[in-house]
Amino acid sequence: MRHLYPVGRLGFMAPPSKAIEAGASVSLELRVNGEPHAVSVPVHKTLLEVLREDIGLTGTKHGCELGECGTCTVLVDGQPVLSCLALPATLEGHDVTTVEGLESADGLHPLQQTFVELGAAQCGYCTPGFVLAAKALLDDNPQPSRADIETALGGNLCRCTGYLKIYEAVELAAARMRGEPGEPTREMLYGAG
């Protein structure tokens, strides 16, 4: 009962235009959170490792490195992608967003606020992946149903929260982004019952 991101469907995962020898190093310019980063890395080094080790953005986490848990999710041109399966060589000219890029000049993203308020982050390790997948959903669908949220977050595993508080945080952020009453209900804070 698992939805994995349809990585292969996305155009930017197409192979680079010229062949690159296995094991070779490549020099690339990656645009991450709106800033250009020049890196020179082995061609097989994953986006996850390059973000963490070459660019110093450690907010994106290792979870399984096999595309199973969603912990390493980042956005590429606004779409969620598993960075442990993505190669930087295929991403030049695209926009990569990590959790460090969620906050804007206007302040925290509403999702960051509501995840804190509603207790949707516990150990916090899966949180960057969840909040980015949720951002992609809300950018595409400002009024998602609970089922839409479950589907959009279905590729991300969490072991602490039982998911319910995460759904509530996404629903509250969506309401605030639509300009609707932004106060969490008692039900959202404490659950029904």
């Binding site: 986490k61 399984c64 096999l66 969620l102 925290l108 308020e117 207790g119 039982g162 759904y167 659950g191």
Partner: protein, 716 residues
């Protein structure tokens, strides 16, 4: 109050062990046993690798005793001549390039001259399989109350049953990891862990250093659930051995496959019940036999067994109880601490058995429990008199009402009679969980906590208790704020650094809020707040520190030799109700609704408390329905998240959480422990619901589609 470190977790600022920068660091990896039991005949380093570039450590490099000190000293830090389980650590390798060390480790071959392993903890070992004592029992515990044999003879009915549970992997999202380096003669070990002083004690023994020359520091921990209670000592000391030999910092981070294959899991169990009831449906005798699979070394199995047997008779009154428990050695990787710590296994058996008895004698399961739940003044299996004022029958009735238990049964009957392939059922479980360490454990821990007034007027809490998602930092901050009338920004929680903090005990056993939180509340800095603290530092050149030390609640008595008395200072009490739907086309069972009603004393922080309950329920849904370790020759075969299936967003029902607050006089503001309770009840409630839905009699979990098909086709 929002979670103290919440914003750091939402911005990527929180630094877990794998995120910490280390100059000139090496990556360490572990060479492991390919066989479950035998003599190590050789470790062969392949010729295709320039080994001079690598740091290699084996058991000869251990400065102190070759042991991971815990309760016993039988588990080696690095196996020398002999291995007792597959994946047992034998040697360590480090290199500055992670890729090089990953490649090189595949070029190391360990050869083993095998001896016969044992994997079935329920079977009598043959002579050549015996490896511990005379019969492979790592620990035996018996509890006796009244005269069971006589009561069974007198009973109107005797009902027997046998129940099994499987191992469970923790699946904390952050894999295990440690870093180590030496700094001015002090070895510093940092990492993802629950019990800094466990690691410190193990380090002193194996590294032959005194505790002034080792510092253990916890890093923000990405989930633990017990999985980071004992195993981190192993990794910490491995990183230390490499760092000492290399004279460089070393980082060991397990990947998911290694973590799932090599580290601990929940103990598998087999529990047998023989129960006598009288003509009114009251329990007159409970004869219970508990067996746990301890794995290859003693580790924590004696205390897991202890909590398991103490909870085995459930929250019921019965004058005649006999519980015989044993944890057996097998050649599997050692099973270890996991949320609930033996109680989920014995509660599964007991609560499934209660439904089996009710069906046998023709009483509704809820009514059967109502007649037998402990009322104030009655005693538990260990003879502990319960006088806490909690109305356990009212808890049960509240759960039935919230879940529309009886109305749903009627609806299910008509659906099940007419639907071509869907079947629904509803089931319940009543249970309890002792908060804090068992017996005299808290007295022996003698936890200490300090509150310091800092020169800028803020209060610093110094304790060894850690944050792993459950909310320690927030609860401690809230307790200080409430006590001293401060705002959260005036409170800092010190890093759990054994070089600075007193030993307030491990972060386990649902004890942090109740036992250590009480010390926060008790600390004697009470009337000296911000300005007074600043004045103190202006006037004096000495630190301002308040101390608190654990004092047991009055009247608590426990006899370890006879296993009688007050096993815990207090208990959480609960009734959970699960509704399930089984699809007869796919044999898939799904939880469609869940109600969790509990008394955990005063709820200190409602958002955190509900998060703990909901998360625990979902973890237990996984244990009940989908999480199954596939073992072959003592190795977990499905060590990936693709084929070890934990609940996803698709598998989560609405979970309604209700707290019935009955303050506990000796907890902070009346709070009791709550973190483990939600692991105990869901599995039997779900199995009872499945039994109703498909009119079958499941006796084991997980109820995967394969097992449900077997149950429906073959009746087992």
């Amino acid at each position: 109050m929002d979670r103290i470190e919440g914003l750091a977790k939402l911005t990527g600022a929180e630094r877990y062990v794998d995120d910490l920068p280390l100059d000139g660091m090496l990556w360490g990896m572990t060479v492991r046993s390919p066989a479950p039991r035998g003599r190590v005949t050789g470790v062969h380093f392949g010729s295709g690798v320039d080994w001079s570039e690598f740091v290699v450590v084996d058991h000869h490099d251990i400065p102190g005793d070759n042991t991971v000190l815990l309760i016993e000293t039988d588990q080696p830090l690095l196996a020398g001549e002999y291995v007792r389980h597959a994946e047992e650590p034998i040697a360590l390798v480090a290199h500055r390039s992670r890729e090089m060390v990953r490649r090189a480790i595949r070029e190391i071959e360990v050869t083993i001259d095998p001896d016969p392993p044992i994997f079935d903890f329920t079977a009598e070992p043959t002579q050549d399989q015996i490896q511990h004592g005379s019969d492979n029992a790592l620990k035996r515990i018996d509890i006796t109350k009244g005269d069971v044999d006589a009561a069974l003879v007198r009973a109107a009915r005797v009902v027997e049953g046998e129940y099994r549970t499987g191992s469970q992997e923790h699946v904390y999202l952050e894999n295990q990891g440690m870093i180590a380096w030496e700094e001015d003669g002090v070895l510093v070990i940092k990492g993802s862990l629950q019990c800094p002083f466990y690691v410190l004690k193990a380090a002193v023994r194996a590294l032959g250093r005194d505790s002034d020359h080792v510092r253990i520091v916890q890093t923000p921990t990405g989930g633990g659930f017990g999985g980071k209670e004992e195993y981190p000592s192993m990794i910490a000391l491995h990183a230390a051995l490499l760092a000492l030999k290399a004279e460089q910092p070393v980082r060991i981070i397990y990947d998911r496959g290694e973590d799932m294959r090599a580290t601990t899991k929940r103990h598998p169990s087999l529990v047998r019940h023989r129960t006598g009831v009288d003509g009114d449906g009251r329990l007159v005798a409970q004869d219970i036999d508990v067996a746990l699979d301890g794995g290859a070394y003693v580790t924590l199995s004696p205390v897991v067994l202890s909590r398991g047997v103490i909870h085995a008779a459930g929250p019921y009154a019965c004058d005649n109880v006999r519980i015989r428990g044993r944890a057996m050695l097998t050649n599997s990787p050692p099973h270890g601490a996991f949320r609930g710590f033996g109680a989920p296994q014995t509660h599964f058996a007991n609560e499934r058995h209660m439904d089996v008895i009710a069906a046998t004698i023709g009483i509704d399961p809820d009514e059967f429990r109502r007649r037998n739940l402990i009322v104030d003044g009655q005693t538990t299996a260990t003879g502990q008199r319960i006088t806490d004022g909690t109305d356990r029958v009212a808890l049960l009735d509240h759960a039935l009402e919230l879940s529309s238990y009886h109305e749903r049964q009627d609806k299910h009957r008509s659906l099940n009679a007419s639907h071509p392939y869907l079947r629904r059922g509803i089931g319940l479980a009543a249970f309890h969980h002792g908060a804090g360490f068992t017996g005299s454990g808290e007295v022996m821990l003698a936890s200490e906590l300090h509150l310091a007034g800092l020169p800028d007027g803020r209060i610093e809490v110094l304790s060894a208790n850690i944050e792993m998602g459950q909310g320690t930092l927030t609860v401690f901050t809230k307790l200080v704020c409430d006590r001293l009338g401060l705002r959260p920004e005036h409170v800092v929680i010190a890093d759990a650094d054994t070089g600075r903090v007193p030993d307030s005990g491990p972060t386990v056993a649902s004890r942090t809020t109740m036992v250590v939180g009480r010390l926060v509340d008790d600390s004697d800095t009470g009337d000296r707040v911000t300005q007074a603290i600043i004045d103190w530092h202006v006037e004096r050149d000495e630190p301002l520190v308040g101390h608190a030390k654990y004092e047991p609640p009055p009247g608590i008595e426990w006899d370890e030799t006879t296993y009688t008395g007050d096993a815990y200072a207090t208990y959480g009490w609960a009734t959970y109700v699960a509704e399930v739907e089984v699809d007869l086309r796919t044999y898939t069972a799904r939880v469609t609704d869940f109600v969790a009603v509990q008394d955990v004393g005063t709820v200190l922080h409602e958002t955190l408390a509900r998060g703990q309950i909901q998360g625990g329920v979902v973890q237990a849904i996984g244990w009940a329905l989908t999480e199954e370790c596939a073992w072959s020759n003592g190795v977990m075969q499905n060590n990936q998240l693709t084929n070890y299936i934990i609940p996803t967003s698709d598998d989560v029902p609405p979970i309604r959480v209700s707290f019935v607050e009955n303050p506990f006089a000796h907890g902070p503001h009346g709070a009791k422990g709550l973190g483990e309770l939600p692991m105990d009840g869901p599995a039997p409630a779900i199995a009872n619901a499945v039994a109703r839905a498909i009119d079958a009699d499941p006796r084991a979990i997980p109820l995967t589609p394969e097992h449900l098909m077997d149950l429906l086709s073959n009746g087992r």
